[in-house]
């Protein structure tokens, strides 16, 4: 795996550099530092940005640098495609400037644009920079499961974690008065004991994780997906929120809501979108 960190020399991209560097050290992955400029005239500044960026990475990490010219999000996606063509799995690390309200609606920040194309797993660095030891894995129930994808692509990350919490949010409510719905109030343990679809999902996840040394826990929350994930993230000492990407294809892109983007927008800590 190679870690691609995009930097523009700002404070928020410094967070991405520091977290990306920590991860690279943890999982022993080489890093590519990328900066994107609007025109060739900015080349000198770009080199300065990359030189400074290297000083923020741990010394043991192997680093390559790259400068691209053009529109930021597009060039990042193109760089990912180029690296993947070379046969490497890529983790893209981005920092995010805080955008709220009208400016966010009008400008569509780089992170949002990149996530819309989702060229590879993306880590949005935010908040405290520390090794991701406590992971909140938000399992949606879609196939293949998020944990399956995580194990496939980020096993070293899971191996390095101390605590793994698998969270499933049940946002369902009874569609009518006569619907029996004890599941709508049940906790993870009860759902697993009764072998409901949610319980089976959590049980399968825990079974997959038992091969790791980390402490495991399964949680179920009831309510709106985004609200509950954010509430859980704030309630615990989580270093990283892991969520599935908005996997819409063709018609689904127009019909389905992009909850992943909302979580990324509102989370107060780093989010890994797989």
């Amino acid at each position: 795996m190679r870690i691609l960190i995009a930097t523009g020399g700002d404070d928020h991209t410094d967070t991405a550099l520091q977290l990306g560097g920590l991860l690279a050290e943890m999982i022993d992955a080489p890093v590519t530092l990328l900066t994107v400029i609007g025109s060739e005239r900015e080349w000198v500044q770009a080199e300065a940005i990359l030189t400074r960026a290297q000083t923020l990475l741990p010394a043991a990490v192997a680093v390559k640098t790259k400068i691209r010219v053009g529109q930021r999000a597009r060039q990042i996606v193109l760089e990912v495609a180029q690296l993947e063509k070379a046969g490497r799995q890529i983790l893209l690390v981005l920092g995010e400037r805080s955008h709220r309200g009208l400016s966010k609606r009008l400008l569509a920040p780089t992170v949002e644009r990149v996530l819309q194309q989702m060229p590879c797993p993306v880590l949005i660095a935010r908040g405290r920079v520390q090794p991701p030891k406590h992971l909140l894995v938000c399992e949606s129930g879609r196939e293949p499961s998020l944990l399956h994808r995580l194990l496939h692509r980020f096993k070293p990350l899971l191996l390095a974690a101390d605590v793994l919490t698998v969270l499933h949010v049940m946002s369902q409510m009874a569609a009518g008065p006569g619907v029996p719905g004890w599941e709508l109030r049940a906790d993870a343990q009860a759902l697993m004991e009764e072998q409901t679809p949610e319980g089976q999902l959590l049980e399968a996840d825990l079974a997959q994780l038992r091969q790791l040394s980390a402490h495991l826990e399964a949680k179920v929350r009831h309510g709106l997906v985004v609200r509950e994930i954010l509430a859980e993230a704030r309630s615990g000492d989580y270093d990283l929120i892991v969520i599935g990407a908005h996997q819409a294809t063709q018609w689904e892109r127009f019909l389905l809501d992009d909850l992943a983007q909302e979580i990324v927008d509102h989370a107060d800590r780093s989010v890994l979108v797989v």
Partner: protein, 383 residues
């Protein structure tokens, strides 16, 4: 069956006979299987025609009867202001457990000059507020029978709260639109033609009823018939048996609010009733569950097209101003819904769900809420 067995025993060569005897039965079974759906569709088609016939008849009778009810409604119920009409429509919908007949009644009262168009508009709004109580009422019965409060009441409460907030905001926009007269020019050209065609068939029926009953009672007969007509119409709707199907899988996804808004509007355009549209969600989902994220825009869409039968009633009355009243009702709710969806959807969504959660959290909260929705229309009526 016994005869067939005997043939097998007596002559092995009669296998052919067995086949020939079986064949007509098998063919018959296949034919029955092939014909059954067609018969079902035919029966539904006939039910639809019967419900339409009864609907038009009911409007004709209510229109006749409403003229004689003027003094009673004005003096006994003292419906003089828009607030009184709002409360009256609201309570009336509680009594008949449906909003559409009350909305139709509001138009016939308006047509008879008993209430003005602001009154008709407010009474129609009241009818929807009262109608949205139905799902909650059903849930309340389940609670009394020992079911969980939250599971039984959440959908009804959500429906009532969404309807209440959007309609009360729509009431202000609607009153503004009606007073400005901006929509008075929008009139269909088919009203008079439709009316003269239905007059030919239904006026003699109304005359027949008039020869037997006092004029005022025709309104009540019409009200009974319109309720029957809606019941028949509900039976025309296809029964959903889609559990574990692809549709079941689709019900687990979270859709964009606009998609659910349009879906709610489309389903209710066919079913004509918000409560029926909501009940359709039960078999559409695997375990009778729906995603919280999907429900509110669905209700908002349903709340607009539920007026389609009232619009038809206005056409049947051949009263251009009645048509404008319904059009304003639909437009004002559409404006409010679009505003909410486009600009304040997330906070509105959270506010509605938080309100539901806090109401079902304690018996005291629920009792207070139920008391409020009973007392408020009464106060409005007595103002």
């Amino acid at each position: 069956m016994a005869q067939r067995d005997r043939l097998v025993e007596t002559a092995p060569a009669s296998t052919v006979e067995i086949e020939t005897m079986r064949l007509p039965q098998a063919v018959r079974a296949e034919t029955v299987q092939a014909v059954q759906p067609a018969l079902r569709y035919l029966a539904r088609g006939l039910l639809f025609l019967a419900s339409l016939f009864l609907f038009i008849l009911a409007i004709t009778l209510m229109k006749e009867g409403a003229r004689a009810l003027g003094p009673l409604v004005r003096d006994h119920f003292q419906i003089a202001t828009a607030a009184n009409s709002l409360g009256f429509g609201w309570l009336f919908a509680y009594v008949v457990m449906s909003g559409s007949p009350v909305a139709a009644a509001a138009l016939t009262f308006f047509d008879a000059g008993i209430i003005d168009r602001l009154g008709a508009f407010a009474m129609i709004t009241g009818s929807r507020l009262g109608a949205s109580f139905i799902v909650l009422f059903l849930g309340f019965i389940y609670v009394l029978r020992g079911r969980n409060r939250s599971t039984s009441l959440s959908m009804g409460l959500l429906s009532l709260l969404v309807t209440g907030t959007t309609y009360l905001a729509g009431l202000l926009i609607g009153l503004l639109l009606l007073n400005s007269g901006w929509l008075d020019g929008f009139q269909p050209g088919t009203g008079a033609i439709l009316n003269s065609a239905t007059d030919l068939v239904f006026d003699p029926v109304a005359e027949f009823f008039l020869s037997l009953l006092p004029r005022w009672s025709l309104f009540l007969v019409g009200l009974g018939i319109i309720l029957t007509s809606f019941n028949l119409f509900d039976k025309c709707l296809p029964q959903m048996a889609l559990k574990e199907s692809q549709v079941g899988r689709m019900s687990r996804l979270v859709y964009r609010p606009w998609v659910m808004f349009l879906l709610g509007a489309a389903v209710t355009l066919i079913s004509m009733s918000v409560s029926v549209s909501l009940s359709i969600l039960v078999p559409l989902s695997q375990r009778g569950f729906v995603r919280r994220e999907n429900v509110i825009p669905y209700i908002m869409g349903a709340n607009i097209t539920t007026f389609i039968d009232t619009l038809l009633a206005a056409l049947l009355l051949d009263n251009p101003l009645a048509f404008t009243v319904v059009l304003v009702e639909m437009l004002s709710i559409t404006i409010v819904s679009i505003f909410v969806l486009a600009l304040v959807y997330r906070p509105y969504h959270e506010m509605m769900l938080n309100a539901v959660e806090s109401i079902v959290r304690r018996n005291r909260n629920l009792a207070l809420f139920m008391l409020t929705i009973l007392v408020v229309p009464l106060i409005l009526l007595l103002l």
